[in-house]
């Protein structure tokens, strides 16, 4: 069996607001196999985004063990965590999060810039990625000149630039109309078919239905997991 993409053991994350501690993750354990496609579901506030932040090395668990691609993330410095994000991870956000003053090409190149790629090589890769997401003619456009669906495609291209092990998507279709959402989902499914591990948070059952596995959360824990029929 190959190394799991991500492995969580007894993860706790507690926020302290007022008197009541909020247990966003409360002993969460699971393994996300390489090449799998998970939809994370559950009611609002159950800890889905918190889970994704931990998986994305943006947040540290208070307790528990998290390994990404076989590497333990405990005791890693901020720089080392940045390095992991840079090399292993790709993020797709609900609100696209493109950088407004950069062109489409520059947005896609951003991870390559931090990876220290030569500009010409980076531009070549960005052009290829733009082509893959169907935006070949938009390289010099600014994000505000694109529709929501197009912006999300740019975000996907950017998330793919560093050829990540794990793609993390927090409600990637949440800001899109259903038709555009379907297009984006087709793209994400295709990525998974080409071998990328995808972990996606969503509220929409029809979106979740496209994942190979579903994980339903409640109060910071797994309520149940189910495989696609």
């Amino acid at each position: 069996m190959s190394t799991p993409a991500a492995q969580l053991e007894n993860i706790h994350k507690t926020y302290h607001m007022g008197d009541e501690p909020i247990r966003a993750l409360n002993g969460f354990s699971t393994t996300f196999d390489a090449g799998s496609f998970w939809a994370i579901m559950g009611p609002s506030g159950c800890g889905k985004s918190t889970l994704l932040n931990v998986l994305g090395c943006l947040d540290r668990p208070d307790q528990g063990r998290y390994q990404i691609d076989g590497r333990d993330t405990a005791a890693l410095t901020d720089d080392a965590l940045s390095e992991i994000r840079l090399k292993y991870l790709g993020f797709i956000f609900q609100s696209f999060n493109l950088i407004a003053q950069l062109t489409v090409a520059e947005n896609i190149e951003l991870p390559l810039y931090y990876l220290g790629w030569h500009p010409e090589r980076a531009r070549k890769r960005a052009t290829e990625l733009a082509q893959e997401v169907g935006l070949a003619g938009r390289l010099q456009h600014r994000p505000y000149q694109l529709s929501g669906g197009q912006q999300q495609r740019v975000a996907i291209a950017r998330a793919l630039a560093n050829d990540p092990v794990l793609l993390l998507a927090d409600e990637p279709t949440g800001n899109l109309d259903s038709a555009t959402g379907v297009e984006i989902m087709e793209m994400i499914c295709a990525l998974n078919q080409s071998g990328k591990t995808v972990i996606m948070v969503t509220h929409e059952p029809e979106v979740a239905a496209q994942a190979k596995h579903r994980l339903v959360m409640r109060d910071g824990r797994i309520e149940r997991t189910e495989a696609r029929a």
Partner: protein, 425 residues
């Protein structure tokens, strides 16, 4: 490769700043005006003080210059019947007293001025003769252009020889180096021109027997013998007579540290002899030099303080905008961090933006600061001088302002929690 990356970062910084052109420009203004005004003021101050220092330096730091100035009013003159006789100036005896009573004096050079009409062939013109000794040419450090200076022998023999200034030569013979060997008739005496001496430049020395266009140096013994101490001036219908022995004595002191004490002693000696304090004036170039240098130092300190304050204000302005910019771009910072940017790369990005901003401000400021003195020099003929060091310093300081006032906003940007930054609206 590394350089290339820095260039790219700078280009990115410029690009970001250009997104808000007006804001970036307004942000820079503090530094622009701070640097501009300081460079301009420094240039004007430097020009003035250079001129002053050069004038003083030319007077000689070892010298003491004693004048016997012509009184302004006539209250001191003695009235005659139809004409009045004005008696002023230093005495021949003063020269002897100086040479006898002051062992520190290496040389003392008398100067006696005489206004007469002179003729070359049929051409007549008003001349000013400077009766002096050969030492004069060494004390004032004026090189000969042609011929020879006055000699001891000329003095001894009361020879009818003259050294012409360059200006005078040009006026009388239409060429700076012409006229050597020619004869000039002055009051029944024919003088042979034996040398041409360089003129005092226009910018220099007000105190040291300033050149007129037609100046001519003759042995003082000859001057005494041929022209005496009494001079008549006719202007319009009135006639005035002046009796002057010596107009000036230039004293050279052997040791530099003895200059100022001797000046004090000479002044008190003259006070005893002349009683009237306005009869003599003791100028010490060294003291003036010190004073001018102190003035310049004070001026520079004041300017430095102004520069400091204006750059502080400019820097705070930049910091303020950068803090606002960090808040405004919180989301961007979050995205960059999520993608994998390290904290120091965020610091770097914002710091470069601030440095680009402040250095551009500095460059514009330097340009303005150099333009203003240029305009001043052209319009009001005031000397200005932009020292290279002030330009380098200004650019360096504006870059420093960028670093100092940029580091805090940059660190604040880098320390943002990526999750919160991503959630920021």
């Amino acid at each position: 490769m590394k350089n290339n990356r820095l260039l790219r970062n700078i280009r990115l910084g410029i690009k970001t700043l250009l997104l808000h052109k007006l804001r970036s420009l307004l942000t820079m203004l503090g530094v622009v005006f701070g640097v501009g005004s300081v460079i301009a003021m420094l240039a004007v101050g430097e020009g003035a003080s250079r001129e002053a220092l050069e004038q003083i330096r030319r007077l000689g730091s070892h010298n003491i210059i004693i004048d016997g100035p012509r009184p302004d009013g006539d209250e001191d003159g003695q009235r005659g019947e139809r004409s009045r006789l004005l008696i002023y100036g230093l005495h021949y005896a003063d020269l002897d007293r100086l040479l006898e009573g002051f062992p520190d004096i290496a040389r003392a050079v008398p100067v006696k001025l005489i206004q007469r009409e002179g003729r070359i062939g049929a051409q007549a013109m008003q001349l000013r003769m400077v009766g002096t000794t050969p030492d004069w040419f060494e004390l004032v450090e004026r090189p000969m252009l042609d011929g020879r200076p006055l000699s001891g022998l000329d003095l001894e023999r009361k020879a009818n020889v003259a050294v012409l200034t360059e200006h005078a030569a040009r006026r009388l013979f239409a060429a700076a180096r012409a006229g050597l060997g020619s004869q000039i008739r002055i009051g029944g005496t024919s003088f042979t021109i034996v040398g041409i001496v360089q003129s005092e430049s226009a910018a220099a020395g007000g105190m040291q027997t300033p050149d007129r266009n037609t100046d001519l140096y003759i042995p003082i013994t000859t001057a005494q013998e041929r022209f005496g101490d009494l001079q008549e001036h006719r202007s319009g219908g009135s006639r005035s007579r002046e009796q002057v022995q010596l107009n000036q004595i230039i004293v050279e002191i052997g040791a530099l540290e003895a200059v100022e004490p001797n000046a004090v002693a000479i002044a008190s000696m003259l006070a005893r002899v002349h009683r009237r304090p306005s009869a003599y004036r003791v100028n010490v170039p060294l003291a003036l030099l010190r004073q001018a240098e102190a003035t310049r130092r004070n001026f520079n300190i004041v300017l430095g303080a102004i520069a400091g304050i204006s750059l502080l204000v400019g820097g705070i302005g930049i910091m303020n905008i950068m803090l606002a910019s960090v808040t405004e771009r919180t989301r961007e910072i979050g995205v960059r961090r999520a993608i994998g940017a390290k904290q120091r790369q965020i610091v770097y990005q914002f710091l470069i933006e601030t440095i680009v901003l402040s250095t551009t401000g500095g460059i514009i400021g330097v340009a303005i600061g150099m333009l203003i003195p240029w305009v001043i020099s052209r319009t009001v003929a005031m000397p200005t001088y932009v020292t290279p060091i002030s330009v380098v310093l200004a650019l360096g300081v504006s870059m420093m302002v960028g670093i100092i006032f940029g580091i805090y906003p940059a660190i604040r940007a880098a320390r943002l929690d990526p999750i919160e930054a991503l959630r920021h609206e």
